[in-house]
Structures are given as C-alpha cells and as structure tokens.
Symmetry: C2
Subunit: 226 residues, 2 copies
DNA sequence: TAATTCTCGATATAAATTTCTCGATAGACG
DNA sequence: CGTCTATCGAGAAATTTATATCGAGAATTA
C-alpha cells in the first residue's frame, strides 16, 4: 500500500521504477547544472554535482541514470543535455494546467510563484468562497466562485488541483476536484485526504516538517546534555 | 553523509534512532487521535489509525513504539496518553523560539500561522532588508532590519531560523543565522545551503515537491497510453 | 603515440525500512 | 468461569535504498 515509487515507460519501452528520494534529488541537480550553464560551463560530472550538493557521487550517478542519459568517461555529461533530460523526465517540458482553491495568505503567495510554469505547472485560475475575493485578480489570476469548480475542471481538462483551504474544507474541495476529473492534487491543508487510490496526491504538510525539525532539535539538546 | 536519522535519549537512558519517514508520520497520527479525542473517543488502536490514514497497522505500531508508550492488547492506547507521548517525543511541549527572515508573500503567510506554537515553534520576530517593511508589524510580529540579526539571535538565544528570502540572499542569511548561533534552519529558499554539518537544516523546496508530482503525472499518462 | 588519470557503468555489498509471522494478553460473550 | 477475538510486542524475512568496488573508455599530457 502506498509504495513511494513511480513507474514510467523508459526510452525503449521497458518500465522503470524511481524512488521518491531520487525524485526529490533530481530537481536539485537540475538547478545546480542550470547555474553552471549560466556560468558558462559546458560539462558536468557526477563527482562535481555531488561535491556541490553534499551528496555521494555514486548516488548522483544512479539518480541521473533514470533519465536515460548516457555520459562519457572523463567528460561526464553535457550541461544542456543533462538539464533537458531531467526536464523531460520530470515532465517539465509539457506543462500541465492547474486550479488553486483557497485564496488565503498561502494561496495568494503561491499565485505569485510565476516560476511554477518552468516546472510544468501553470495555475490558470483560483477559487474561493469569499464573495469579497471572487471576481478580483490576484497576481494576475482571476478568483472565481467555488460553485463552478467541477464543471470548469472538466471543460478545461485541468490536470492538477492545489488545495490551500483550511482543514475543515479540504476534503470537500478534494471531492469537487476529483469530481471534475483532476488527476493530481497538491494538498497544503494539514489533513489526510480520502480519494480514490489512483489519484496522485502530494501532501505539503508544514506541521509535519516542523515536527521533524523540532524533534531533531530536541534530540540534539538531549544528546549534548547526556 | 547526511544520514536521515535522529538520535535521542530514550526513557531509560539508552538511545534510539528514528527514521525520517517515521518522523513524518507521527504528526499524522497525532492529528488523527486529536480529532478522535475531540469526538469523544478514549481509546485507539494501531489498526484504526492505519485504516484512517491508509497505512499499514504494523508500521503504525512500530512508529508509535519509538515514543516509548506501551499499549494494552485488545484495547490499544489511551487517546490522551498517546497524544502526549507523541507531543513529548517530537518536542512540542517545550517550545523553541525562532526568527523569520524575508517578509515576502510566503514569509508573511508563515507569520500568520499562529498554530506553529502548538508544534514547538514560536516566531518572535521577522527580519527584512526593505526599509518600507522594517518597523511595521505583520500578523502581530515586528519586522526588524537585517543588520541586527546575529546579535539578537545570540542575545535572545534563538534556536531556529526560518529563511524565506529569494534564492540569491539565502546563503548570506544562513551565514548570519549561524553566526548568531541558531541550531536549526528551516529553509524555504530553493537552494542548497552550505553550513556546518552539525547544523540541523530542513529544506522546504516547493519546486522539488512539484517535480515529484509532475513526474508522477507524466508517468501516469504514459502508463495509460502504453 | 603511449602512459596516465578521471569518470562512467555495472556488479556486489551493506544498511535501512517495511512487511510478515508468531506468541501473549486483555476484554467480550455465552 | 471458559472460550473466542482483537490487539500488542517482538523477532524474522523480504524489499528498498544507499554505498563501495571493479573494469572499460576517453581526454590530457609527455
């Protein structure tokens, strides 16, 4: 249940399975080699990437391998090629459209993240129940009433729903998004969503993150005392 | 390098190592049993938790075990006890103070998350370089000039630094926080921070998260086609 | 042109995590 | 009061993930 892996058809038609950990590291590599490219470099090696990001070179190589790119001994990879390979693998070269629901402070902040477009996501509209917000534009995106959500999702073939509503409304919104036919949900509400298992759900739970940090801090203190 | 585990002295003085994955799941359990408690329930079983959160019951049991709590067969755990055990284990019962640096839209949104206090973090002040923001109050928190940051961190014994500045300024801010003596950094800037290895750094990289979602979506489409 | 060095790619090893299996015990029920 | 069921707790197995090792090929240098 809930294996943290993703399947995809590889270049030759065979399928590969990629770990969640790899998926989280690939964007880091991409960002780094982009910087290198802007600095004028043309080649990268896994050793170099690993050194810059405090990671094991072997691991970098394994991660990079899943994109299907092949490097050359001594040289490594060509910066542009590797960047393109990662972009393609992660699906950034085929942007998907998304709706954001819940224009609170976090939702509004996300609407301002215009760089999402570079990462395969274009937020085309926002939704809220607050009449004071409906009809306005925030960071250039129109805020619409929640009622029309499912129909619009279906009509516009929206693939991604972003939930930035309070906990109490999250499940309801998720249901509306699923009803409309989104295939993935990016959930910023700190709660577990009950949706069909084939739905792609990604929980962005700040409290969970904080918990991990908090625990490490506590363990750290105890460790110093003892 | 970078083992994702945390040590802590257990109840009897021995040390346990907890995986990052467990650390991320514990808050989910806590939230669920809190809901149960508010609904009037007094007892929970791992089976029940697992069922509600779509997780394996055995895994829930293993996770819960690290808090040191002991359950009773047939009954499970007492709701209040389990909640308290998780809270203590995660360090939520001993709040740490933090500074937030970078009062952009995301930073301002985080300043409004008053619930952080329940999770062991109290943001006591914010910092920014923008003179138009300095001196104002946002969500009740004062915005101060960046210059005084290290001194104030040291004087007030601030443990946590939250970075919500643009990428270009992140490393610089991290250095200031470290200089002041914070022990943990919660980094929302999409970049790798170079700090001493004993520092606790938690990266909250939305683009990486989005990448994972994007890739799964792409893999999903391919899978359906083929 | 040959030696050297660096890095990829594949294989093997080790570690960690999740899952499974087995008693043991407490509560429910007749 | 005895039987039955559900759940904990602990140990073992299986799966995943990360790390280390080795050989081969390409660029640099002498």
């Amino acid at each position: 249940m809930g294996k943290d892996v993703a399947e995809l058809s590889g270049g030759g038609g065979e399928r590969r399975v990629v770990s969640e950990a790899t998926l989280r590291r690939l964007p880091l590599y991409h960002r780094y080699i982009k910087e290198l490219g802007q600095a004028g470099a043309t080649g990268v090696s896994c050793t170099k990437i690993g050194g810059a990001l405090s990671l094991d070179p072997t691991q970098v190589r394994k991660d990079v391998e899943v994109t299907g790119i092949v490097g050359r001994p001594k040289t490594g990879y060509e910066v542009g090629e590797l960047a393109a390979a990662i972009e393609h693998f992660l699906g950034w070269d085929s942007a998907k459209e998304g709706f954001l629901v819940g224009v609170g402070s976090l939702g509004a902040a996300l609407l301002g993240y215009h760089k999402f477009a570079e990462y395969g996501l274009e937020i085309v509209a926002a939704f809220d129940t607050d009449p004071a917000k409906v009809g306005k534009r925030i960071h250039g995106k129109y805020v619409l009433a929640l009622e029309g959500l499912p129909k619009l999702v279906r009509r516009m073939h929206i693939a991604i729903g972003i939930i930035t509503v309070p906990v109490g409304a999250a499940q309801e919104v998720a249901d509306l998004l699923v009803e409309g036919g989104v295939r993935a949900i990016w959930n910023f509400a700190p709660t577990h969503l009950n949706v069909a298992p084939e739905m792609i759900v990604r929980n962005e739970d700040l409290y969970c993150s904080l918990a991990a940090l908090s625990q490490k801090l506590r363990a750290n203190v105890k460790g110093m005392k003892g």
